[in-house]
């Protein structure tokens, strides 16, 4: 290799005549060229780093994140509520069973049954009228009842398009700030009707809306963003 340092060349810290010599060397010397090409992505990456990446923040203390005091193997661990600033459960996980008639919210174990051959919604409770938020030709309708100490919900759904290809309808409680919790899901058949009655793992009175969404059944536990019915909890 010549006397030109590949790093100096890449950094442009050479006199103009040396830079010209470096360019010529890069063109004709495979060893020099290989070294330059090897380091060039590193230099480029360094030049592109955002300011925050140069001074990485100090994370919260490990002891505060709810792991340090858990001694058992992680696979045996039970879920803990450790995110105090975000007092909702995460959306249910494990929705591979979404195609089934019965889908259980993995967090709360909410029991929901659809397709018409199910338990009846309790007649009492605080009523939440669910109205169509889409523009389906035959608008769906429904209502929900928040029962007892707001730890149980009954939902009656009608005129929903039947599910296909593993899709299902998700039942959610949500707030306008975007916090939400999945209560589970239900598969709707050709009759477009389902009655659900489920204990729920949260206090429903802490939420503003009952929401029914169409979920694609792709295994993603998050809200699809496609709501079909929604009602405000008074």
């Amino acid at each position: 290799m010549s006397g030109i340092n590949p790093t100096d060349y890449l950094l442009g810290e050479l006199e103009p005549d040396e830079m010209a010599a470096g360019r010529a060397l890069e063109a004709r010397d495979p060893v020099f060229r290989a070294e330059v090409e090897r380091l060039r992505p590193v230099v480029a990456a360094l030049e592109l780093l955002p300011e925050e990446a140069w001074d990485l923040p100090a994370p919260p203390a490990f002891a505060s994140i709810g792991i340090a005091d858990e001694g058992a193997a992680p696979v045996r661990r039970t879920r803990r509520r450790w995110w105090p600033a975000f007092p909702v459960l995460q959306p249910a996980v494990g929705l591979a069973a979404a195609a089934a008639l019965l889908v259980i919210g993995a967090i709360g174990g909410a029991l929901m049954t659809g397709g018409g051959s199910v338990s009846r919604a309790a007649p009492d409770g605080r009523r939440v009228v669910l109205t169509s938020v889409g523009s389906l030709p035959d608008p769906p309708s429904g209502d929900a009842r928040i029962i007892g100490d707001a730890r149980e919900i009954a939902v009656d759904l009608s005129h929903l398009p039947a599910n296909h290809d593993g899709s299902y309808y998700g039942v959610w409680l949500l707030n306008t700030d975007g916090t939400m919790v999945s209560l589970g899901g239900v598969h709707i058949g050709k009759d477009g009707h389902a009655v659900l009655d489920a204990p729920i793992p949260v206090d429903a009175s802490q939420y503003e809306f009952v929401d029914i969404s169409l979920e694609p059944g792709d295994g993603d536990p998050r809200h699809s963003g496609n709501s079909v019915l929604r009602g405000q909890i008074s």
Partner: protein, 213 residues
């Protein structure tokens, strides 16, 4: 959906400039972050809380930096970083080191939780009949992968000696030339250049080992 799995984590920077693969050789005494991660990951898979604490100490700053940048909210980022590491703790037994490194895995989790958080911010779910709801139209993931590359790179710099990292910062963040750095810190120019060469080579090796070509 399930974007975290759909989009591979690669260095777009490296792709843009191409690379000249070359066998990496680690200097005697040089830290080996990947090997350390493997050891810690084995501990995590055994349910060793001390290993988890070490993983947290090693990786949480970059993950938090990434989340702070993506979410634009330090407090929210701190909440989400906790979710990430608790998820890692609980899912450690399922981690497959043959598929990715520990850092890659943590950033996959962080990416997923960040997207989750961004989506939860949208207050009103929308029309089921409309094609391409706002989540699709305003895909919050479009710039996230580039940030992951950058913060993973920043994480690699943490394995450099403090003085070497300082020289990199002075050169690439503060805009000093090597000569100016030498004058500023009272170090011979040749030493600054040696450290610069060494740091770039180490970072390149780390990129190679992480498959970021």
């Amino acid at each position: 959906m399930n974007l975290a799995c759909a989009i591979p984590l690669q260095s777009t920077t490296a792709r843009a400039f191409g690379s000249a693969p070359r066998p990496a050789r680690r200097s005697v005494g040089e830290p080996d972050p990947r090997r350390d991660d493997d050891r810690l990951m084995a501990g995590l898979q055994r349910g060793d809380a001390a290993a988890m604490e070490a993983i947290y100490a090693r990786h949480a700053p970059a993950v938090l930096g990434f989340l702070s940048r993506v979410l634009g909210d330090r407090h929210a980022a701190e909440d989400v970083v906790q979710e990430v590491f608790v998820e890692a703790w609980r899912g450690g037994a399922r981690f497959d080191p043959s598929r990715s490194g520990l850092s890659t895995w943590l950033f996959v989790i962080a990416r997923s939780r960040a997207v989750d958080h961004l989506r939860r911010r949208i207050p009103e779910p929308r029309d089921a009949s409309a094609r391409g709801g706002p989540f699709e139209q305003e895909d919050p993931t479009s710039e996230i992968d580039g940030l992951i590359d950058q913060f993973r790179f920043a994480e690699r710099m943490r394995s450099l000696p403090v003085e070497d990292a300082r020289i990199l910062k002075m050169r690439f963040h503060l805009g000093f030339t090597q000569s100016e750095i030498a004058a500023e810190i009272g170090m011979p120019l040749g030493t600054v250049k040696t450290k610069m060469n060494r740091s770039l080579a180490r970072l390149r090796r780390a990129m190679d080992e992480d498959g970021d070509n």
